[in-house]
């Protein structure tokens, strides 16, 4: 940083810093080593200071990409991702990314430039009320009015983003605040009078939960994104085995419980497995860990888990009893709560569970025999086959990001996730164009791991410009395009529910992805026949740089099982 002025105040020495310097100092104190962003007039002062630090900057090609990349970085590494964009259009371009992070409770901090405070409200050039725009899709946001408040607000932003139920926080930085200067006092601790998240579960609730578990004949565990955010995998496995309960997961919870475990049921919900959906209808106790019972999970709410008493563990009290009535609500951190519950169950006599559970687990085996995740691989490549082959070749060890639609569902169904933080997808918002920039973020977090974006030809084009970003920073992301030349998921709905009227879902002018890759300086590969799938995957995955693998797949393939929207989740279309 540039020469600080030293001034005396009350006998102590305080360094006078500019707003821009305070921004970078706070980022360094928070351990930030990379920023995803795009420069502009309102933030040029911050960029001018940024180059003097050792913080890395990834210049994206569109600000939406910056937010998704920061989001992917966070989901893969658990560290808070940071974005820096300019005012006006720079800020508005971040909105989809912020909304996606908000729906999935991902802690990121978005710094936006703003016109000088005396111009705010004057329709100045590149002015937009981004704090107003993002109020409903951020956990919290700030407009910094005085440089004196800047250090405190930035510190608060990081604290709020990570604590409790995490979420995105936006800080709007007017140009005069960034250029102004003030004596800098490091802030050690953040205290917010009105914000005290509950981490410790209420001690009265745990024995009640334990009692229900002891009574249950057909228990089942349902995990969601909260189990991953709170790092509850270990405790979750302990509980499942201790009480011999099978485990299903929402889309957001994939990886929290290993897909290779015999107690694994698979994904639940609209495109859930037969056995997971059937189990939820038959179980007499449902232990929900860090889920919010979205409509895609429950189907018709009145028919969801009709025979079960429900224990709902979540850090956010507003998630509990929002959609589903619950017998035992437990507000607290999922990991802490499960650990305490496990410890409590250790002191109880649970009896011969293996014997007791046999009828229940046998029943599940029977459902498992109804193999619903199947497809027939004939002369045209089936998208499911590509994902299955990918899983086989990578041993299920890659970090997988997805776009949104059929590609997302096939990735969740046919890739076996054994570790948390390896399945990165826009679950709540369902934001097409998420997967590729998120893969860039994940690759930045783990330069040596294999990061694969499973995409469709529709979604990948929504942020295809980030190819240049991946090339510039030598990020060897692998893109798999399941290319059916249409918007597959909507086409599927049109096929099933709209008499095959394919209104505007046909992508007749899809680009040649191989030549597109080459235009960016990357490698492009194509497979048009099933026997080419494995060789293309092997060749593409082993290449040390950015690769697009274009798989020309069956156009009219549908994602099954499928529960029509609003139906009970046991009403599955199987083929």
């Amino acid at each position: 940083m540039c020469q600080p002025k030293i001034i005396n105040q009350k006998g102590g020495i305080l360094i006078k810093l500019t707003g821009a310097q305070i921004v970078l100092k706070t980022l360094q104190e928070e351990g930030v080593d990379v920023i995803f962003g795009f420069p502009g007039g309102a933030v040029v002062d911050i960029y001018d200071e940024l180059v003097k630090t050792d913080i890395r900057h990834i210049t994206v090609r569109h600000e939406q990409g910056a937010v998704h990349a920061a989001d992917g970085y966070t989901r893969a590494s658990g560290k808070v991702g940071v974005c820096l964009v300019t005012s006006g259009p720079g800020a508005t371009n971040t909105v989809s990314g912020i909304a996606s992070a908000y729906m999935d409770s991902i802690p990121i901090v978005v710094l936006t430039g703003q016109v000088p405070t005396d111009l705010i409200g004057n329709d100045a050039f590149q002015e937009v009320d981004i704090v107003g725009i993002t109020r409903p899709c951020t956990k919290h946001n700030y407009l910094v009015k005085r440089v004196e408040d800047l250090g405190k607000i930035l510190k608060e932003a990081f604290y709020v983003a990570q604590s409790g139920r995490p979420g995105p926080v936006l800080v709007d930085l007017p140009k005069d605040v960034i250029k102004g200067s003030t004596p800098y006092r490091p802030i050690k601790q953040v205290h917010l009078r009105s914000y005290n998240p509950t981490y410790e579960p209420n001690f009265r609730q745990l024995p009640k939960a334990a009692a229900l578990i002891k009574e249950a004949k057909r228990p089942m565990i349902l995990t969601g994104g909260g189990a991953i955010l709170s790092k509850a995998s270990e405790a979750l496995r302990t509980l499942a085995w201790k009480i011999q309960a099978p485990v299903a997961s929402t889309l957001m919870g994939m990886g929290a419980f290993p897909g290779s475990d015999p107690l694994w049921l698979g994904m639940i919900g609209m495109h859930g497995t037969y056995r997971a959906n059937m189990s939820s209808a038959a179980c007499d106790l449902l232990i929900a860990v860090g889920v919010r019972f979205s409509d895609r999970v429950t189907g018709k709410v009145e028919k969801f888990a009709p025979n079960a008493r429900i224990i709902h563990i979540d850090i956010d009290p507003t998630s509990i009893r929002k959609n589903i009535p619950v017998s035992i609500p437990i507000v607290g951190d999922c990991r802490l709560t499960l650990e305490k519950l496990n410890a409590l169950l250790d002191t109880e006599e649970l009896g011969d569970l293996t014997g007791q559970r046999k009828p229940w687990l046998d029943q599940i085996q029977e459902w498992k025999a109804t193999k619903t995740l199947t497809y027939v691989q004939d002369e045209v490549i089936k998208p499911q086959y590509v994902v299955e082959k990918l899983c086989e070749i990578t041993n299920g060890e890659a970090i997988i990001t997805t776009e949104v639609g059929q590609n997302q569902m096939w990735a969740a169904q046919y890739y076996q996730f054994n570790q948390p933080n390896c399945f990165i997808t826009s679950g709540g918002l369902g934001c097409m164009g998420f997967g590729f920039p998120a893969a860039i973020g994940a690759q930045v977090a783990f330069p040596d791991r294999l990061v694969v974006d499973i995409a469709g030809d529709g979604s990948i084009q929504m942020n295809i410009q980030e190819m240049a970003t991946a090339m510039q920073y030598r990020l060897p992301v692998k893109i798999i395009v399941l290319n059916n030349s249409c918007l597959g998921m909507v086409r599927q709905w049109q096929e099933l529910f709209y008499d095959r009227r394919y209104a505007h879902t046909q992508m007749e002018a899809t680009p040649d992805f191989v030549r597109l890759a080459e235009a960016y300086g990357a490698v492009g590969l194509r497979a048009t026949r099933p026997k080419e799938v494995a060789p293309v995957l092997k060749k593409g995955l082993s290449h040390p740089g950015l690769v697009i693998m274009d798989f020309v797949v069956e156009k009219e393939e549908c994602v099954y099982p499928m529960v029509p929207a609003g139906a009970p989740i046991t009403d599955m279309l199987l083929v």
Partner: protein, 165 residues
């Protein structure tokens, strides 16, 4: 909008005295299609804290959810619901009435009966200040309506819970 399940709720919130807080609070109601019937915001004895008193009609379950989510807002310190507790409520209205010569005496009589007072007077109008609960103000308005109301400004309801005696 209103149906039988709907109930009148008086919510009283202590919030940080900062720009944007009111918008966050009001946003929860508007995004769920709730109309806010009355809203009153002012600083408390602590200049860092404001009190928002808000009246809304709505389904009990949905309002429970809104209350939980209001509590979750970083700038909201406390949310009280006066729906089923003992409380005192007051509202003030300024009512500008047409004062035809034949009505002038009656307006003054009404003003007297309702323990309100005339705060501004002209050749053809009276402005009456009336304070009370919502019912009292509505009763007054009903009685003077036929004489012609030119304008009304109501403060919106304020309320405080009663202490245990």
């Amino acid at each position: 909008m209103a149906n039988e399940k709907d109930k009148r709720h008086i919510l009283s919130m202590l919030v940080d005295n900062q720009p944007g807080v009111l918008s966050r609070v009001a946003g929860f109601f508007s995004s769920r299609g709730f109309n806010i019937d009355s809203l009153c915001v002012s600083e408390t004895h602590d200049p860092l804290i404001s009190r928002i008193t808000l009246v809304a009609m709505g389904d009990m379950a949905v309002l429970e959810q809104i209350k939980k989510q209001l509590n979750k807002l970083i700038n909201v310190i406390k949310v009280l619901d006066f729906t089923d507790v003992d409380y005192v409520e007051r509202e003030t209205a300024l009512v500008k009435l047409r004062a035809k010569p034949e009505h002038r005496a009656e307006i003054l009589r009404m003003t007297d009966i309702f323990r309100s007072r005339v705060v501004d007077v002209g050749s053809d109008f009276y402005t009456v200040e009336i304070t009370g609960d919502e019912g009292k103000i509505n009763a007054f308005l009903k009685l003077v309506k036929h004489m012609g109301i030119k304008e009304i400004a109501r403060t919106g309801l304020v309320a405080l819970g009663r202490e245990k005696k």
